[in-house]
Symmetry: C2
Subunit: 133 residues, 2 copies
């Protein structure tokens, strides 16, 4: 378990109990949407406001502490910022897995071919996971 108090501070984010709980939930669950995150947080902080969830998600995205992952036919989920990676999405059970795919060569080629300077990729591969086929 990481020391998220300092990680938050390093990103110029005050380490409030609500924030630490959100970060902890993302650490444990990997990917969560606002709805399920709120559902979890309300258990710890019975008076937490949904606006607090949104405000924190937004500021943590702004400070690059977390990332939004947009999924086809589903609500966006959020994850702690890690090294660049892609996502596997199971259409049946909704499970999301991180997957490391080296895209460097491909990006290099596309950059040249299309005269397009590429900074970042959002790559979601959808189908059926091991348990759902």
């Amino acid at each position: 378990m990481k020391n998220y108090i300092n990680s938050l501070r390093e990103h110029n984010l005050k380490a409030t109990p609500q924030r630490l709980a959100i970060v902890d939930a993302l650490y444990i669950n990997g990917h969560m949407n606002t709805e399920t995150l709120y559902g979890l947080m309300i258990q710890k902080f019975s008076s937490i406001s949904l606006a607090t969830i949104y405000k924190n998600i937004n500021i943590m995205i702004e400070k690059n502490f977390i990332q939004e992952v947009k999924l086809p036919h589903a609500k966006s989920v959020y994850e702690l910022t890690k090294t660049s990676h892609s996502h596997l999405l199971c259409k049946k059970c909704g499970a999301i897995e991180d997957v490391e795919i080296n895209l460097d060569v491909m990006i290099e080629n596309i950059s040249k071919t299309n005269q397009f300077q590429i900074d970042k990729t959002d790559f979601v591969l959808s189908g059926n996971c091991k348990n759902c086929q």
Copy 2:
């Protein structure tokens, strides 16, 4: 210019003037979000309802006639269904380009390595286009 009357019918969609105008706009512009689409349509049909835009987008997605493209830090855009392709997004000017990337070998490898059966990919590469660097 294609005959979209028949294409719509083949997808079990009535060819109404409003629908044809939407399809035509997508054909011409490539990618549009609900807001800009409504802005264009209101010029042709002064009494068109925003609900009509949403209803048509939803049913056309359902019938696989158009596709939603989810973009980082921007509203989703819609495009006519074509052969599978990826997208280049310019962070500066917002331009979106289709790009053919052969992912077959990569998908094959990922499927094996992760025991995950992959049907479909959503791949957006962001950066700066030719004119914005």
